[in-house]
Amino acid sequence: MNIRFPRWILGLFAIGLLIIVPYVYQHPLFKPSRDAATNIPAKSAHVDHHDIVKGDFKTGQDVTRACLVCHKDAAAELMKTSHWTWQSKAFEVPWRKGPVTIGKINQINNFCIGAQGNENKCMTCHAGYGWEAGKEAQQANPENVDCLVCHADAGTYSKGLFGNPAESVDLLAAARSVRATTRENCGRCHFDGGGGNAVKHGDLDESQYFPDRALDVHMGGKHNLQCSDCHVTRKHQVLGRALADNYTIDPAEQVSCEQCHKGSIHKDERIATHLKSVACQTCHIPAIAREEPTKVTWDWSKAGQDGRKEDHYTYLKIKGEFSYSANFAPTYLWFNGNNEYRYILGDPISRNGPTYINKPAGSIKDPTARIFPFKLHVAKQPYDKVNGYLLQPVTSGKDGFWTHFNWDQAFKLAEPITGLAYSGQYGFTETYMYWETTHMVQAADKALQCDACHSATGKPGRMDWKALGYAGDPVKWGGRKLP
């Protein structure tokens, strides 16, 4: 039957359009979501490996071989990353001829100073086995990749000497527990950096295994973010670079707040104008080491003294004298994401004032720099009085400093390993190392308020405006003028 299309429907449709179109123009039906949580990348579903993994495993390498049966590229991928190489890509630095790399493998810091020669202990935190075979042999073998340290349930696994699994570990149980990385996997090394809980970073410590919202708005509270939610990982390449182990950092390789917090977040224009010169972290991380005290000074020159009372927070014979601080305001510097300087073994020390292990780059005149919070770690560490460079001792092992408390011996032992001549005369010099503060982020209601930095009454706030290059408090003296 041929039913004629009722044409009046078209008229009705036209009338509807006439009304709806202008209305929708004024009131868009769909507004973009402002919820940053929607920007967290989705992860692939977990596959329970309990029935997949079969033993019997005698060594860590046995486990890795089993992993590689299915995950064929995994070892090759990981071996390209700094979790494996423990060094950065090669940099040209203005003060040295030829490219240099920076990392735990070949450079020093002002905590435990250096890993070279101390591999038996330091490699507890390396994602690889078999350091007893030496660096070249260890690095060449894909079976040395430690899958378990990142992927096993952290409760089932731990590492012993030379990066190998600890004696007590049930490798089959550990291998069956594998899954995507959690805060516990990352935290085992990164929360305990510097040789203990909270020692090194100040914004990373074991309180973040079970954080509440007040400690860290991302990891705690309803979001319960894992490290890899921000440190997005593709082919084992983890996003994010530590300032300490790099010279410059490509922003594409760095984690940023803007990954999730897109667009104009601050409706308050006064706050929004700050973003040109103030990093998110500056206001949203009012304090370092909110719960666990972090190390702020370390004097190696006092190490080896007999008869002193020892405790974790003030003095250890093997390490010297230190001080810890908790819940304190960061040090603020202009920062464009790079180092202006990173100490390379053999660099001369400063004869007046401290030697910088690293120095964040940026100044009030740098449009890409923003005021950024840092933890400053001040150390007194050994240097060669004749050659004028910092020395790296061998501390661990049967001949190391921690056994005999003999600095000369420790430096002589290191000579062939670091390739740096030791004159026989050592002293201790002050060094500064800056650690960027980016975790333990606070929500808006606990962020810094105006009067933390600005003061109508002249009461000094937490910003040293003159040191930052301002004439005075920018509320009164004006902000920085950029070309």
Binding site: I15, L18, I19, P22, Y23, Q26, D445, Q449, S455, T457
Partner: protein, 902 residues
């Protein structure tokens, strides 16, 4: 300074002062505060009243002489309403209770002490008594140094009965005040310009009547000078070899918020110490009367026991948070930094006049008349009202509001910024003081709003309060709604011997109620209604003629004549505690609905012994109703219409709605009855005309035009109804509905205009124009048809043809609708829509209070028309035939050519 630290500070200073006074040998240097290092002020000589260095004379310091070495202190003292306090316009009057617009002479029923005028029968506050009572909030100079006639107080000779040279002693007896012994109190530069003025020592000196020592006492505790019981001991160590005081010990500076707070109210410095409040405490007058607290701290971080505190992540005052100081807005009028703002706009072409006062000249003669607003409670220096920067002088409000607020300009014209940006106060404020009765402690029956329990008790839950919105008549002639606290006071007044009205003195009030520190026997007998021998707070109220008679009798015994109760409602402006963002009143329905903020009332008192009057001595329209409930509770109910305000969704005229509803329902009833009749008639006798023909009645454009208009009008009526009564349709968002209404209105107007063009261009217009010739005959025929013919199945009297589709009644109806209702609706609607762009046009035509009800009435009539119109479409050959015709264009109509009629 938090209350706690302030209290500790005062306690410390008081104790050191007392110690010093008790034991002249005691050195107080150990506990003296650290000297300030910030002051740039040069060292200078401290001079006494004879311009001799105090190191030499050992006399109290004279600020006028000391500061006058460089600054023009005479100019400053004479250009300072803080000093004048109403003295310059002091006008004694028997008729009113106010003799000046300032603290010196303005009747303040909260403090309840009356500054006695010359010739008054009874002495309440003499000038000296006034100064001792209020001195801690009097900067000095003005009435503290000068008599009402303009002579120095110290030169006055005591005269019997002169309120300037006498004082009430402890027993309430009039005695002579010897000004030459007490000295007078010069304007105290130190009070506002020292980092740490010694407020406690100053207060002690004033309370003791040692006025000449007050300014020197302000310096004590700073290592410079201490009292030794007889006079002042100047500490040589803080002076230079040349006899100049080392300025860093003084910490001379521009006034800080803390300096202003000393007299005005709760001000807290930045820092982590939780904000604590002294609620409803007249020592913090601005806070007590309005709940305003100047603090940068977030409310959720404060120490106040506040309901819902955790969600209040906003600072107490955003301007304090953003580092503004009191003096940034209330600046010296000739301060070169602000001079461009003060210069005004003349000549009009000049945006900026660089010929500002030189900074040196300014420092020599800084104008101490400070820029001020136009608050309802401060009357001194009316010529300086509105000299301060207003919100819009610093903020470009339209740019930010344009993004979300419809009718921005209209909102800006009608509302002060504070109305939305100070939606709620989070500190308690005084509600009422009832002095018609008196507590055993000699205090009024007081009540405080915004707190559940006794104010000041940490266990009391502070709930805060929403200010009432009242119409403020601005100095520039505009009017806006602004937030206020209303304080109601009740008190007795009597007629003195000269017939002047005076408040009953506190002393007489006490005498009337109390005998030897307890309620008098006949007072207890009258007030103690439950006969338990004591007067409970609930019994202590003037709620019966018997109580009134007994108290009046006791007044009569005291010699007070013609005593009666009075009450007044006084508005107190709220301008501080501004907020932004989510804490602002920005929900349309908060105002545009039932229970609108604009009509939200305020409880004035839980018991009102008399009906008070709304204090008219201010710029606030108290046009609302004072409602006294049966139980004596008193309320203020704003009536916005009396201030020519019409708030959509909240305001309406009931009679307009009644009339409109009557027309609508009447029509509905009419068509129901008519339709029912037709149905009954139809069942009895089906229609009998045989000849029907199918006609192409409506061409496409006509149908499109009709249905667009029909749908527009129906939705306009529905959205209009929602706008009119949003409380009944809470599911819809108000601003979306308003915007849909406006879009449809625009569509309707465009559609009507195009259709008009079509009809004019095609000469179809004629169809709508009733032919005058024989019109009435035809109309009567048509009417007769509807009244009777239609029931009998008669054919329509006029054939419906494509070139003549309307019968005479239709023509008449459309003539009315198209010429009266539609234009009226379009014009009123357009004026209402345009009220923000061309407010004067709408105002010229009666303003919203006229336009809006008219628009509503016509909308009702349109509704009635729609009902009738739809009903009449069923009168075609079949009930749905006409509608089908309007949809498809083809309609089956009676064929009159074929029809054989009689």
């Amino acid at each position: 300074m938090s209350t706690l630290t302030r209290a500790l500070w005062i306690a410390l200073l008081t104790s050191t002062t007392v110690l010093a006074a008790a034991n002249p040998a005691t050195q107080v240097t150990a506990s003296a505060p650290q000297p300030s290092m910030r002051s740039m002020h040069p060292n200078f000589a401290l001079l006494d009243a004879d311009a001799v260095n105090v190191l030499k004379s050992g006399q109290p310091v004279s600020t006028m002489k000391t500061c006058g070495q460089c600054h023009d202190t005479a100019f400053i003292a004479s250009h300072a309403f803080h000093a004048d306090l109403g003295l310059s316009t002091f006008t004694p009057s028997g008729k009113t209770l106010d003799s000046s617009p300032g603290l010196f002479g303005q009747w303040d029923p909260l403090r309840y002490r009356f500054l006695t005028q010359a010739g008054d029968e009874r002495l309440d506050l003499s000038t000296a008594g006034w100064l001792m009572l209020n001195g801690e909030r009097v900067v000095g100079g003005g009435p503290a140094t000068t008599s009402r006639a303009g002579r120095p107080l110290t030169e006055l000779t005591a005269r019997d009965g002169d309120p300037e040279t006498s004082v009430l002693d402890a027993a309430g007896q009039r005695t002579v005040w010897n000004w030459s012994a007490s000295g007078s109190m010069e304007m105290n530069c130190f009070l506002c310009h020292l980092e740490r003025p010694n407020l406690a020592a100053r207060k002690a000196a004033i309370r003791a009547g040692h006025f000449a020592d007050a300014n020197t006492a302000t310096l004590s505790g700073l290592n410079i000078v201490e009292a030794d019981g007889k006079g002042w001991v100047w500490n040589r160590a803080t002076f230079t070899a040349g006899g100049l005081v080392d300025s860093k010990y003084l910490g001379i500076q521009a006034p800080t918020n803390a300096n202003c707070a000393a007299c005005h109210g709760e001000v807290h410095p930045a820092g982590d110490a939780p904000v604590l409040l002294s609620a409803c405490n007249l020592d913090y007058p601005q806070t007590a009367t309005t709940g305003q607290v100047v603090a940068s701290q977030r409310i959720d971080a404060s120490g106040v026991n506040l309901a819902g505190k955790a969600a209040l992540r906003r600072p107490w005052d955003i301007h304090a948070q953003r580092q503004l100081k009191c003096t940034d807005c209330h600046h010296a009028l000739n301060n070169p930094a602000h001079v461009n703002h003060v210069q005004g706009k003349e000549p009009s072409h000049l945006r900026y006049d660089p010929r500002a006062l030189d900074i040196g000249d300014y420092l020599q003669r800084p104008d101490h008349n400070f820029a001020r607003g136009q608050s309802a409670q401060v009357h001194v220096a009316p010529e300086y009202k509105n000299t301060m920067r207003r919100c819009e002088n610093c903020h470009d409000a339209t740019a930010r509001h344009q993004a979300w607020l419809p009718y921005v300009e209209r909102h800006m014209v009608a509302l002060a910024c504070e109305s939305c940006h100070i939606p709620k106060m989070y500190a308690p404020a005084i509600q009422s003081y009832d002095w018609t009765v008196i507590g055993i402690d000699g205090a009024a029956q007081r009540s405080c709003r915004g707190v559940d329990g006794a104010p000041g008790d940490v266990r009391s839950l502070v709930t805060g309060f929403e200010p009432v919105l009242l119409q403020r008549n601005n100095v520039d002639g505009t009017s806006q709604l602004a937030p206020y606290n209303l304080i109601t006071t009740f008190y007795w007044v009597y007629e003195d011997a000269k017939g002047g009205k005076r408040p009953v003195r506190l002393q007489d009030l006490k005498a009337a109620y109390l005998d030897g520190g307890a309620y008098a026997a006949d007072i207890v007998a009258t007030f103690d209604s439950n006969h338990d021998g004591a007067i409970s707070p609930a019994e202590l109220r003037m709620d019966s003629p018997r109580k009134e008679a007994v108290v009046k009798a006791r007044f009569a015994k005291l010699g007070l004549q013609n005593v009666h109760m009075e009450g007044q409602v006084q508005p107190f402006s709220i301008n501080h505690n501004v907020t932004r963002g989510e804490y602002v009143l920005n929900d349309c329905q908060a105002c545009h609905s039932a229970g609108s903020r604009v009509t939200k009332g305020m409880q004035l008192a839980s018991f009102a012994p008399v009906s008070p009057v709304f204090n008219a001595n201010n710029n606030v329209s108290g046009s609302g109703d004072l409602i006294r409930r049966g139980d004596g509770a008193l309320f203020y109910q704003p009536v916005p219409a009396r201030d020519h305000l019409y708030v959509f969704g909240s305001s309406r005229l009931d009679w307009v709605d009644g009339l409109g509803a009557l027309a609508f329902l009447g029509t509905l009833l009419g068509v129901t009855v008519h339709g029912g009749g037709r149905y009954l008639a139809f069942r009895k006798r089906p229609p009998g005309h045989e000849s029907i023909r199918r006609v192409y009645m409506y061409e496409a454009y006509r149908r499109f035009w009709h249905w667009l208009q029909a749908i527009s009008i129906v939705i306009l009526l529905l959205t209009g109804l929602i706008i009119h009564r949003p409380d009944l349709f809470a599911v819809f968002s108000f601003d979306s509905v308003v915007s849909l209404h406006n879009i449809l209105a625009a569509l309707l107007v465009i559609n009507a205009a195009l259709s008009l063009f079509y009809h004019v261009a095609t000469e179809r217009m004629q169809e709508f124009i009733p032919r005058p010739y024989g019109f009435f005959d035809d109309a009567i025929r048509q009417a007769k048809y509807y009244i009777s013919g239609i029931f009998k199945g008669e054919p329509h009297p006029f054939e419906k043809r494509p070139d003549a589709r309307m019968n005479p009644l239709q023509k008449l109806t459309y003539f009315g609708i198209l010429n009266v209702l539609l234009p009226l609706q379009i014009v009123t609607g357009a004026l209402m829509w345009g009220v923000q762009r061309a407010p004067e046009l709408a105002l010229a035509l009666g303003g919203l209070p006229l336009l809006a009800p008219l628009h509503t009435l016509v909308a009702w009539l349109f509704g009635a028309f729609i009902v009738a119109h739809v009903y009449l479409t069923t009168t075609g050959t079949t009930p749905l035939e006409a509608i089908r015709g309007m949809v498809t264009g083809y309609e089956e109509v009676e064929d009159h050519d074929q029809h054989v009629s009689g």
